[in-house]
Amino acid sequence: MAFRAEGDKITALDYDMENPVNHGSLCPKGHKNIEILNHPQRLTQPRMGKKETSWEAVTTFIRQELKLFKPNEIGICLSAYSSNEDALKVAEWAQGAGIANLCVVGDPINEEMDPATLEDIDTADALLIYGDILDLTPVLSKRVNHVKYGRRGNRIVVVDEKTTHTTWFATDRIKQKPAGKIAAFANSKSGAIIFAGTPEDAVPGYTDKKRITFYPRGNALGVNKMVQNKIPYAEMLKKIEGGEMKALLMLGEDVCTVTPAIERKIKMLKLVVCADYFTGPSKTEADTSILLPLASQFESGGTYLLSGGREVSLAPIAPRVGSKTNAEIVETLHG
């Protein structure tokens, strides 16, 4: 992705045709980034309830409030869209403060035995795809098309119960989830799995072949790798529902947008802090809620671990609009 700028301000998107991964193409999610940068409703100042305030005042308030709770009454939900550096910093801070209730809002990561790279897909004769991969990662469709139409005899096997955008391209379609080891992969919450290999692999017994997993939530791979001591997201939701939590820090995104059913319980907490780009459903009404403007990845930069083991480092390319990264936010809470 490239940008067009006028002075300091980024005004339009452009397409990086030399990019080896996407060859200039960009999915709808990629297009939205430009909207985050210049959106008129973007948070630029911290808010306490409905009043705007300064960073100093709000961090002092949060520090004082957090002292009123025991460490096991405080929960942290870290967004899977955070950078690796942010995730590491937040994990260190939580450990230092004795907060054990730290979770990543994203799917658990399965260990990759022999991860395939994107180039492996290009050279594959057969793909076994689980789930609607082209809806999740449309940029992959050029490579899937290349396999399908590249050579006569190439096969694309799609395992999905529903008719999806991915099943349009299937040469063979499995509606029922297969048994055994395949079912174990199929039932995992990892979104979609692509196996790259030869036609013989598209029958049971392929599980020792190369595979590449695409995760639905941004940098889930990197964040889960960086945060070692964490509790599962589902367990965190149970603790909130059970009333064990009294304070909740949502770093990176509003949990209610991911799990809307939890919104009523979150509004009943004594302290809710959320770092995000915009105001969300759980933040506007509760008087005790605190909103912190979050820096986007184009304003903060950072390292991201993507599918296939690709690690990309982004440099900040846009000026900050009064926002801070998750790492900078927890740094201010140290004192």
Binding site: A12, L13, Y15, M17, N22, G24, S25, L26, C27, P28, H31, K32, I34, E35, L134, D135, P138, V139, L140, S141, K142, V144, N145, Y149, T163, H165, T166, T167, W168, F169, A170, R173
Partner: protein
């Protein structure tokens, strides 16, 4: 020779990146609608920039005009949003979105093409289904004249 946007029906994965690119390049009003063909495909509806445009003939305010390079453009100032062009278009590619008080109409990204760039929809296309080519070149390309095999297979023969 005039260039036009072509679509290879077999390759399109229906991700709507083209519509997103169009919207972000045209003040958040997408000029690109989509057609859903049962469960088989979801395709972008590009303006054909006809030789004898029915939309221009139907426009009461002369807002639609055929330019020298063959493109049919809508004047932002003359358009009153009466939707006559929408009714007249034989291909149904003109949409009824009046959020900007004008009818959305493909301008083939004239600003980008003037800089020798691809139109936004073609540049953003994730599957390589869209291409921006000379009219004659495309007609001679026998491979691309093939009827979409993938879509045909959904209607003739097995159901996926």
């Amino acid at each position: 020779m005039a260039k036009r946007v072509y679509i290879n029906l077999d390759l399109c994965c229906g991700c709507k990146s083209c519509a997103s690119a169009c919207a972000y390049g045209h003040h958040l009003q997408s000029n690109l609608g989509h057609a859903k063909i049962k469960d088989a495909a979801e395709l972008p509806l590009h303006c054909f920039h006809c030789d004898q445009p029915a939309c221009a003939a139907a426009c009461p305010n002369d807002a639609m005009q055929k330019m020298e390079d063959g493109t049919v453009l809508r004047s932002h100032f003359k358009c009153v949003g009466c939707r006559s062009c929408l009714v007249a278009c034989p291909f149904g590619v003109i949409q009824s979105d009046l959020s900007k008080h004008v009818i959305p109409k493909c301008d083939l990204c004239a600003d980008r093409v003037a800089e020798n760039n691809l139109p936004r929809c073609v540049a953003a296309c994730t599957s390589g289904a869209l291409s921006f080519e000379e009219v004659d070149e495309q007609v001679m390309d026998s491979q691309k004249q093939l009827v979409s095999v993938r879509m045909l297979s959904n209607f003739v023969g097995r159901r996926r």
